[in-house]
């Protein structure tokens, strides 16, 4: 390895120091929440001793547990539906040329960019017009729209890296189109599908706006519960909840990135 002269001259560059500072900035809020979650003091930032009380309180809080349950139901259903129809969509868009294809593609990517609030408003108004009673299932229906977009994007990137001849070879060797799809294409797409699903899952768990517009009374999701608690003041058990959720989503994020990393490694070999 030959290093560029600037690196050799300044072993610690200002960019490295600045980056270190920014890493600290990125993790500061998380560290702060962790610090508070073990602090006995209810209101001040001064250390008044170690305690696990807030965690105990959190796990005995039935409203939080119920909201978490609702969030998980919504996320699993929305991601499950979008995994199936999103994969079909990505394959279909790659395979067929038809009039209106660009429009279809554009519409399917819209939820990635259109602000959540606009999607939330539109869905609420639509549900009011067709007079569907708001419930957990209306949240699922609304979440599928953006989960679909994320699954679609990740799967089509994966699809673009694949060798199209493998499926054709399967067809030539006597497989039916359905067999070729299930036995040849799907396994190759799996890493993309899974990492798209993980991304969609995290985003569904994180969504506050769309859920609060499309949820009926009594169908609170976790972000809605957290939002209403934050608005009524700072509560130490929310700190404990943050730490638990951040550890869990950190693990999920690591898993998703690891899967993507491994799949790109494979495709370049």
């Amino acid at each position: 390895m030959n290093k560029s002269p600037s690196v050799a001259k300044y072993p610690v560059s200002w960019q490295a120091l600045f980056s270190l500072l920014m890493y600290f900035f990125m993790y500061l809020p998380i560290l702060v929440l962790a610090f508070y979650s073990f602090n006995k003091s209810r209101y001040s930032a001064n250390w008044e001793g170690f305690t696990l009380d807030w965690y105990q309180k959190l796990f005995n809080d039935t409203r939080i547990i119920a909201a978490l349950q609702n969030s998980l139901i919504v996320a699993f259903c929305a991601v499950g539906i979008s995994a199936v129809i999103g994969t079909l969509m990505a394959v279909g868009l790659a395979r067929y040329r038809f009039p209106g294809r660009t429009l279809y593609m554009g519409i399917s990517y819209l939820p990635l960019i259109i602000p959540d609030i606009a999607i939330a408003v539109a869905t609420l108004v639509f549900l009011a017009v067709i007079q569907v009673r708001l419930s957990l299932w209306t949240i699922v229906a609304a979440h599928v729209v953006f989960c679909l977009a994320y699954v679609g994007v990740v799967v089509s990137t994966r699809l673009a890296d694949l060798d199209p001849h493998l499926e054709e070879a399967a067809l030539d060797l006597g497989a039916t189109p359905a067999q070729a799809f299930i036995k040849v294409l799907l396994p190759q797409l799996m890493p993309g599908i899974i990492s798209g699903c993980l991304l969609a899952f995290v985003l569904s768990l994180d969504d506050f706006l769309i859920a609060s517009f499309t949820a009926g009374s009594g169908a609170n999701t976790l972000p809605m519960e957290i939002f209403s608690r934050i608005r009524t003041g700072v509560k130490p058990d929310i700190n404990a909840l943050s730490v638990v959720l951040m550890v869990v989503s950190g693990v999920v994020a690591f898993l998703a990135e690891f899967l993507r990393y491994r799949s790109t490694q494979k495709s370049y070999k």
């Binding site: 002269p5 690196v7 960019q15 490295a16 600045f18 980056s19 920014m22 890493y23 900035f25 990125m26 993790y27 809020p29 998380i30 702060v32 929440l33 508070y36 001040s44 930032a45 129809i85 969509m89 394959v91 279909g92 395979r95 067929y96 279809y104 399917s108 960019i113 602000p115 959540d116 609030i117 606009a118 999607i119 408003v121 539109a122 869905t123 108004v125 639509f126 229906a141 609304a142 679909l148 994007v153 990137t157 001849h165 054709e168 070879a169 995290v202 994180d206 506050f208 517009f213 939002f227 934050i230 608005r231 700072v234 943050s242 959720l245 951040m246 989503s249 950190g250 690591f254 990135e257």
Partner: protein, 346 residues
């Protein structure tokens, strides 16, 4: 590869038996319909149709008791831009100010992300050890995966009067601020010729109430979007041709000249893509202004929220504001597609 094309052309399979015209059309459509039908119907029902409905609803004028209904239809839009009932004489800039503030928050956090994010992306993409780059990038964007509500909430605990900044920095900062204030005082008490350029105000001693005003919103938003900016700048800087940097240095340019004349032009598509993306997310942000900004930081998405779930209950006006937001974002996307690096935007 001629061999594989021959194999894949399937010339050996026997011709399918002749079918009626209708059946063959159905056959040709069946497969694409299986693939594209379900998602298409879902998107049509829950994205396209709802958007058309809110457009229609946005044309419904606000009917309140004692108010003349103007039949023009674009009342709600006029109101959003300050003209009550589309009459230029009745100008009310309240909502225009909300839009300006929204743009200020989005633009401010975009600039902050660009200034803070560029050195980080440059360091990870160009200067850090090659085998660590993926891990370093993952480490930087990992907080993005955690709940955005909770990250804003964390900034409340940092910025509030009894929060982290005030509690931890008070002993360190207050003596420093006192010294600075003494220096400012002595500067300001110099003769007039010296005084004019140094009309410095007193610096406030801690505790500060940083919450519930625009600085808190800008801090929270910049924090939320920094990972997006770094991700996009990274993928742009990764492609930087480093031989050009060396060539520039060999030809006598100093680091600043190399940066402005070689690095920046090469990464311009990434800079444009990152900035527009952050701008788009920032314009639609609800959580940061709502939780950190207080009553003085009304933005367009908070205003829309209030029209639907708040006390106001004016769906027509809320729909019009949503249409304005969608339109603004569409313009930004059009710019992104025209000037930005499409690959970097992914």
């Amino acid at each position: 590869m001629p061999v594989s094309t021959q194999i894949s052309s399937r010339s050996t399979t026997p011709a399918p038996p002749a079918k009626s015209k209708l059946a063959s059309i159905f056959d040709r459509l069946a497969e694409p319909l299986i693939f594209l039908g379900p998602a298409g119907i879902w998107l049509l029902l829950l994205l396209v149709l709802p958007t058309l409905i809110i457009f229609e609803l946005s044309l419904v004028p606000d009917i309140r008791p004692g108010q003349v209904v103007n039949p023009s239809g674009f009342d709600n839009f006029c109101r959003a831009f300050g003209f009550e009932q589309c009459l230029p004489s009745k100008f009310d800039p309240t909502f225009l100010q909300v839009m300006k503030r929204t743009l200020f928050f989005a633009g401010g956090s975009t600039i902050a992300c660009l200034v803070l994010g560029f050195p980080v992306a440059y360091w990870i993409a160009v200067m850090s050890p090659k085998q660590w780059r993926n891990l370093l990038l993952l480490g930087f964007v990992l907080p993005l995966w955690t709940s955005s509500l909770l990250r804003s909430y964390a900034w409340i605990t940092i910025l509030r009067p009894s929060g982290v900044i005030n509690s931890f920095l008070q002993p360190a900062l207050n003596p420093l601020l006192s010294i600075l204030n003494w220096l400012i005082d002595s500067c300001n008490s110099f003769p007039i010729s010296f005084n004019i350029p140094f009309l410095l105000p007193h610096l406030p001693l801690l505790p500060w109430n940083l919450l519930n005003d625009w600085p808190a919103v800008l801090i929270g938003m910049s924090y939320s979007y920094l990972p997006y900016m770094v991700l996009i700048l990274y993928s742009s800087l990764e492609k930087l041709d480093r031989r050009l940097l060396e060539a520039s240095a060999d030809l006598g340019a100093n680091p600043a000249q190399t940066f402005w004349k070689v690095t920046v032009p090469q990464t311009m598509p990434g800079i444009v893509a990152g900035s527009l993306l952050v701008l788009i997310i920032g314009v639609g942000d609800f959580i940061d202004p709502e939780l950190l900004g207080g009553a003085s930081s009304m933005t367009i998405s908070r205003l829309i929220y209030n029209q639907f779930l708040g006390a106001t209950q004016n769906w027509g006006f809320g729909s019009a504001l949503s249409m304005v937001l969608i339109l603004a974002v569409s313009i930004a996307i059009a710019l992104l597609l025209k000037f930005g690096d499409r690959n970097a935007a992914r």
